[in-house]
């Protein structure tokens, strides 16, 4: 259990003054993760929001070494960096134990960079891959990704006269990563900061590829006021829209059981991307279906915890 009193004594490795939108969940995730990471740590990032708002030349928000190459290459570039580190370590050029963290969005992870992460995990490169998941291609102006939830409006799954936003549920990335038998995998969100920093510690201590899927609300893409970012994150956990759990040594553990599981409307209502669902019966049916999917997923996760739990 981390204590804020201790965490706030750690050096800020992600500087203020970067160009993220007000209320950006992704910037908060990066900051929290770096506060919790043991040093020295080296970062890798693909093209995306984080890269754009943190690294416009001649400025950099990173107080750690950081490399950016292309959009689909977080895991493959990390593979090369880690291979180089292994070489230097074996040759005695580097004495310290260095940690490696790739920070990628859901576009760079679920979709265009999917092959690279699968390859890197199969090869067992030792690094932490963090997906800061804001459920869409926000950097290019809010297009749907395979992390975009059922019913959401994006510019490429627009709510229209006939089609009411995205008609498919999101890809279950955690299960796909777990199928790679990672050294550690966890899912969390920024409102649960203690859960997040605990998982960062576990992931970086694990001997092999580890993964964190961190839900980060995006005021621009989700269309909620910037001061509600943490509230949205909390509601995602409290509605079980975003289950908080981990997978370690073959065992599932749900890390956060809401005292009262809230209906998904409470998460959806403040967000403009779902506003079309709150007009008329068609929308009601979609919300009901979203609720059914969430309940089924939550029940399945409990079954997995029972079957493969502690």
């Amino acid at each position: 259990m981390a204590r804020l009193k201790d965490l706030c004594k750690n050096p800020e490795l992600f500087s203020s003054g970067h160009r993220a939108c007000a209320g950006c969940g992704e910037a908060l995730a990066v900051r929290q993760i770096l506060l919790a990471a043991p040093q020295p740590v080296v970062g890798i990032m693909p093209t995306g929001c984080t890269e754009i708002f943190s690294s416009i030349y001649p400025h950099s928000a990173w107080q750690i070494p950081m490399i950016h190459t292309a959009f689909e290459t977080a895991a493959s570039t990390a593979s090369g960096v880690v291979a180089a580190y292994n070489f230097h370590k074996r040759m005695g050029n580097i004495k310290d134990d260095v940690k490696f963290i790739a920070f990628a969005g859901d576009g760079g992870t679920y979709d265009i960079g999917f092959q690279a992460i699968s390859g890197a995990f199969e090869r067992r490169h030792k690094f932490l891959y963090v997906c800061t998941d804001n459920e869409g291609y926000m950097n290019t102006g809010i297009q749907r990704s395979s992390a975009t939830p059922y019913g959401a409006h994006t510019t490429t799954s627009p709510a229209g006269e006939v089609i009411p936003g995205k008609t498919m549920p999101r890809k279950d990335l955690m299960e796909i990563i777990i199928a790679h038998n990672p050294a550690y995998a966890g899912q969390t969100t920024i409102a649960l900061w203690n859960d997040l920093v605990t998982k960062v510690g576990k992931a970086l201590a694990a001997d092999g590829p580890s993964f964190l899927n961190v839900l980060v609300p995006c005021p621009l893409g989700w269309q909620h006021p910037g001061n509600l970012t943490i509230e949205m994150s909390k509601l995602a956990a409290d509605t079980c829209f975003w289950p908080i759990y981990e997978w370690e040594n073959g065992k599932y553990k749900i890390n956060y059981e809401p005292k009262e599981k809230k209906p998904v409307e409470e998460f959806m209502k403040p967000q403009g991307r779902f506003s079309h669902l709150f007009k008329g019966d068609k929308g009601k049916a979609i919300i009901a279906e979203a609720q059914r999917q969430i309940d089924a997923q939550w029940a399945l996760l409990h079954k997995r915890q029972e079957a493969f739990g502690a």
Partner: protein, 384 residues
Amino acid sequence: MILAKTGNEALAYAMKQINPDVVAAYPITPSTEIVQIFAQYVSDGKVDSEFVAVESEHSAMSACIGSAASGCRTMTATASQGLALMHEMLFIAGGLRLPIVVPIASRSLSSPLNIHGDHSDSLASRDSGWMQFFCESVQEGYDTLIQCVKIAERASLPAICAVDGFILSHCMERIETFDDEPVREFLGPYKPSWNLLDYKKPILVGPATMQDYYFEFKRSQIEGMNQALPIIEAVQEEFKQKFGRGYGIIEEYGTEDAEAVVLLMGSACGTMREAVDAMRNQGKKVGMVKLRVFRPLPHKLLKETLAKFKTVAVMDRADAVNSYGGPLFTETTSVLYDLPQRPKVLSYVYGLGGKEFSLADAATVLEQAHAGKKEDLVTYVGVR
């Protein structure tokens, strides 16, 4: 030591002697053997390299970039679709000025699928900021790959060392190899000017730039390419001093009194030498100009060299599908344009998809060059 080796075996052997810190590679015909022979060297403990058997060429080049940025001498090997899949990352390696070295067994590009030798792959990558060397023989491939490492590191530019797929990659040749130690002495240790893993002095590699800086970065990269030519010359000279074999950026054959020459790259130069000999025996003043370095384009040297002749027949083992000849043809005409008296330039496209380029074909081109004219602007040699 004198050894019988195919092109792929010789390139893999050179890689063993180079002993790169990291190799990240994916197999593809006809360069697969380079990767698999090297993997065996790794498994047998003959090299110190970290070998990363990536899941695609895109990831191969991305991993190479990560490794080279982390202070490691880094190599891969590929061809054809593999180089095409790397395309996006080639520009990033070039822009980051990372001295990654890649032996290539040149091959055609799909569609239709074809696994045989031509220069479509490298020439399609010509604007990616990579130096490109085209080799005539297996021996030259072996020697050039070793030189490339030194040139790339001194110029801070990545380099492609191309041998023609199958024609050289699978052709066994008697080659003179060096001992490991002199090769490693020749190269010395890799000392990059910056290193991502220098965590006590954190740096950001690969920033975003806006209108205020992008052009300046590219201009500086272009200057790096300009400055690579004297570096190539110097390393060729150092190589000659140490190992006794000399190479030129451009090499001439039978040109002392020649009025017409053929300009070309790669293994077809060997065929052309024989054809030139035969024609010269008939008293026809023809010769050959071999371009060994396509990038950086040695434009001044090329102009000086070609200005002496009445006719230059330019042979491309790739077509840009632009209705105006291959890449080497258009670059040659552009290089010659501001000469007060320009040679006549003829365009030939030959050998696509490994189509045989015979002595008779070479003789036809030389005859037409000697005559100084032909009917069509672009001729496709040997097409049925």
